[in-house]
């Protein structure tokens, strides 16, 4: 996609004004904690995506890019907080400038703003994973399978795949749940229709026969077929009912009869026996608090198992491992199996009672409506409460909890209140008093009610068929989705698994050259087990050291990125990753990055200068491809160890007669440079296990080594009979000796703390010559052309030359054989 050539950061996060020249190459930002490294990472992410992950998203509370992106002294002026990057897009061979301000992060100024450039930048924006922190890296390795799945899925944008799966499942489940109630409704309308038609079986022939009998009475032509649009009363004139009441006497009496029968069934001995048996069983459960609690728990677990379909707890939103959770809950359910069996048995016995109560409520409501049509609402008024109660209990009996409430409802149902029986009898009296319809009126009533109930039944069946079809369709879509996505993901993870194992083997080939890993995906989780020295496969955190785990995280990230972006993986920021990798493997990791990802520009941050050195010596970083932050303050932001700036700063302190500050800075800088010189010159230094070297322990060895190198170089030049070189070396050696003498630095070895501790007691006139002497001494360690400190090459084994990176200085150290 892109490579970053330079970045300029102004008034952004902890940085006031900083420009880094990356030149499209690997680049390292090194410095102690709190010196502004992460500010550079934030600025890169902001410039490329318009966002800073650390300031947005879950758990960031009141912190935001808008409010806290600008430097703290510019928080009221977000327009001043700006980042500009110069990038190259290799695929387009174009160089592009992107400048964003915190005031308008979504409106960068892009030059040139060609469509192909915008397309690439949009793609970069969609891949914020180009920035990887150690926290994220560890998430890939040490997370639970569920959390890991989320991390990896987010990286691969598979969260969309999972989101679609869970939504399709939700749709399928919802559709399933709609089918059963509609089936009950279809049965109810079916029974109503049969009763109205006065037939025993609902077939086209029987319906037509019954209808044509009535149509013949009215002189209407016979119907020969029954289609979805056929009306039984086709051609019948108004009024449709002859009764002044608008109620069919015959049908009303039939409905009364059905209602009575259902009430009789409710009060029957068999129902009473059923109720008393269930109540007795429930009493047993309720009598033992432990059992009741178990019933509640079992019901809770069972319901939970049906509802668990998300990747996180709906209460606290903590992620969970779906399969592990299901196994765990199933274990509890198994433990409560006996209680479960009892509960299910009781609920099965309650099901017909619930259905009967629902039917009674429907029938009573129907009679009430007919009473209203007869302007006799009062007659049935007393049944209203009972009907509501029946319906409520019917709904409640789908579960046995809460036990006490269910027992109470069932006990009250043991007999039908007399008021209900009386109300129905009164209504029956009213209906019976209606005049008998004539044969024609009877036929007209029959056709009207039959048609109405036929339509109700048709609509109910139609809805049932639709819902059934929808449920089937939704389930089919879900099943196919699961099958195909599983297949695709298995292939994807297999490829990533191979690449990951290969990368890890490369980085750890000294002791794990037979390493392998297993990534086992399933919906909602990603199992990840790794081989531990041939002893079997275990979770990465089980036996491997932290350093190995860091290495695994990086390799997994690299494998995933290579799979996602392919040749487009040209840029990544590795923010303080691999901090715990041991020295031996750091070199291998550097080699891995250099050789396996030669087309990827890595920006690496670290607080560890030894790490930085490894990156350089292994060739991951070449030339001036790093910046070393020495400190940070809120007024100026990070400051770098840059030669020119350091001497100017020291001069400034002297100018202000602040010798204490000048001497402190000189000492600090000399400590840094001495360590660098010892490394470059391969100077023998007395080893310290705590790696806490004082200036007097580093600078004298560097000077001594330089003298040794001059001597070796002169010997080599003599053996090759190189007179000019010999003269040049003698001159440099003499000057070097004079400069050392001027500083008296080599005397420190005798007493390492005397000299620099006394600097801050010097006056301005006394300290200026000291600074001058050290500046010139350090200059004598550099290439006269490029100003870089000289280094011994190679950095291991027999020294062959003393040289710089520009090539202008290359002094032979090997004598003629």
């Amino acid at each position: 996609m892109i490579r970053v050539d330079s970045i300029t950061i102004k008034e952004f996060r902890g940085i006031r004004d900083l420009t880094l020249s990356l030149k499209g190459k690997n680049f390292a930002v090194c410095g102690p904690n709190g010196t502004g490294k992460s500010g550079v990472v934030d600025a890169l992410e902001f410039a490329l995506t318009g966002n800073v992950s650390r300031l947005s998203g879950e758990g960031k509370g009141e912190v935001s890019l808008k409010a806290h992106g600008p430097h703290v002294d510019r928080r009221d002026d977000p327009d001043k907080a700006r980042v500009r990057v110069l990038i190259t897009i290799p695929s387009l061979s174009k160089t592009v400038t992107i400048e964003r301000s915190v005031k308008a992060p979504a409106s960068p100024v892009i030059t040139p703003s060609d469509q192909d450039v915008l397309d690439v930048l949009q793609h970069v924006k969609m891949h914020p994973e180009i920035v990887l922190s150690r926290r994220e890296l560890i998430n890939y390795v040490l997370a639970t399978p569920g959390e890991r799945a989320q991390e990896v899925q987010a990286l691969l944008h598979l969260d969309r795949v999972e989101q679609v799966r869970s939504t399709l499942l939700k749709i399928a489940n919802a559709c399933d749940k709609q089918v059963a109630p509609q089936a009950s409704n279809a049965k109810y309308t079916h029974d109503n229709l049969i009763r109205a038609l006065e037939i025993t079986e609902l077939t086209n022939g029987k319906v037509l026969e019954a209808a044509n009998t009535r149509r013949a009475i009215l002189g209407l032509p016979a119907l020969f077929e029954l289609t979805e649009s056929t009306s039984l009363k086709d051609g019948m004139s108004q009024p449709e009912t002859s009764q002044a009441s608008g109620v069919s006497k015959k049908q009303a009496l039939a409905d009364i009869q059905v209602t009575r029968e259902s009430l009789t069934e409710l009060g029957s001995d068999s129902t009473k026996a059923l109720i008393s048996g269930v109540v007795a069983d429930l009493d047993v459960l309720a009598g033992d608090s432990a059992i009741e609690a178990s019933v509640k728990l079992e019901s809770f677990y069972s319901m939970g198992m049906g509802l668990v379909e998300r990747e996180s707890c709906p209460f606290c939103d903590d992620a969970w491992d779906l399969d592990k959770l299901r196994l765990h809950v199933q274990g509890k359910l198994d433990h409560l199996r006996e209680v479960s069996l009892k509960r299910k048995a009781i609920e099965e016995r309650l099901a017909p009672l619930a259905s009967l109560l629902g039917m009674i409520a429907d029938n009573l409501d129907s009679l009430t409506r007919q009473a209203q049509q007869m302007k006799a609402s009062l007659v049935m008024e007393g049944t209203n409460g009972f009907s509501i109660n029946c319906r409520e209990i019917s709904n409640r009996l789908t579960t046995i909890l809460p036990l006490a409430s269910v027992i109470q409802h069932l006990t009250n149902l043991s007999s039908v209140p007399d008021g209900i029986i009386n109300a129905i009898s009164s209504f029956e009296t009213l209906v019976s008093a209606l005049p008998e319809p004539t044969k024609q009126e009877g036929a007209r009533e029959w056709l009207t009610i039959a048609q109405e109930r036929l339509e109700n039944w048709r609509e109910s069946v139609r809805m049932y068929e639709i819902l059934k079809e929808r449920a089937k369709s939704a389930r089919g879509v879900y099943d196919i989705y699961v099958t195909t996505s599983d297949k695709k993901l298995v292939g994807l993870y297999a490829a990533v698994e191979r690449d990951f194992s290969s990368l890890y083997r490369f980085a750890n080939r000294d002791d794990e050259d037979k390493f392998n890993a297993k990534m086992v995906p399933s919906m909602g989780k990603l199992g990840f087990d790794v081989d531990f020295y041939g002893r079997g496969f275990f979770p990465p955190g089980a036996y491997h050291s932290e350093g190995h785990q860091d290495s695994m995280g990086l390799c997994l990230y690299l494998a995933l990125m290579r799979h996602i972006q392919g040749a487009g993986f040209t840029f990544a920021v590795l923010d303080d990753v691999l901090m715990s990798v041991d020295a031996g493997h750091r070199r291998e990791v550097c080699t891995l990055l250099k050789t396996e990802f030669p087309d990827t520009q890595f920006v690496l941050t670290t607080h560890d200068q030894i790490w930085l050195r490894h990156m350089k010596t292994e060739g991951l970083l070449v030339g001036r491809s790093s910046v070393l932050f020495r400190n940070w303050c809120v007024d100026t932001g990070p400051s770098q160890w840059e030669e020119k700036d350091v001497w100017s700063e020291i001069d400034g302190h002297i100018e202000r007669n602040d010798i204490r500050a000048a001497s402190a800075l000189l000492r600090h800088y000399l400590e840094y440079v001495s360590a660098e010189l010892c490394h470059r010159l391969r100077a023998p230094v007395e080893y310290r296990g705590d790696v806490q070297y004082q200036l007097g322990e580093l600078l004298p060895p560097a000077i001594a080594q330089m003298r040794t190198l001059f001597k070796r170089a002169k010997d080599a030049a003599s053996s090759w009979n190189r007179r000019e070189t010999l003269d040049m070396l003698s001159e440099r050696e003499t000057r070097f000796a004079d400069l050392v003498k001027a500083t008296k630095a080599d005397a420190w070895q005798v007493n390492t703390s005397v000299h620099y501790n006394s600097w801050d007691s010097l006056g301005k006139e006394d300290f200026s010559p000291v600074v001058k002497a050290y500046r010139e001494l350090l200059g004598s360690f550099t290439c006269l052309e490029c100003g870089e400190y000289l280094r011994v090459s190679p950095d291991r084994e027999t020294a062959e030359s003393l040289r710089c990176d520009c090539g202008a200085t290359n002094i032979n150290l090997k004598k003629k054989p």
Binding site: L158, I480, K487, G566
Partner: protein, 66 residues
């Protein structure tokens, strides 16, 4: 079945799009209505909307009761 090139964005693989594409091809091969497949294709691949409402409409069509 014809080989369908992997969906790509700016020349890079878009894995979710590949998953969706495979799903749609399989759905079509199992006899799902071409209208449904077209609606799902538009929702998943063109509009990239993954809400319950959008997917329900894509499966059942606008005219179906929700």
């Amino acid at each position: 079945m014809a080989v369908v090139p992997s969906p790509e964005i700016d020349g890079k693989q878009d894995i979710p799009a590949q998953v969706f594409e495979s799903f749609l091809l399989e759905l079509e091969s199992t006899g799902a209505s071409s209208e449904m497949v077209a609606r799902l294709r538009k929702t998943l691949l063109d509009d990239r909307i993954f809400t319950e409402g959008a997917l329900k409409t894509a499966i059942f069509g606008e005219e179906m009761p929700q």
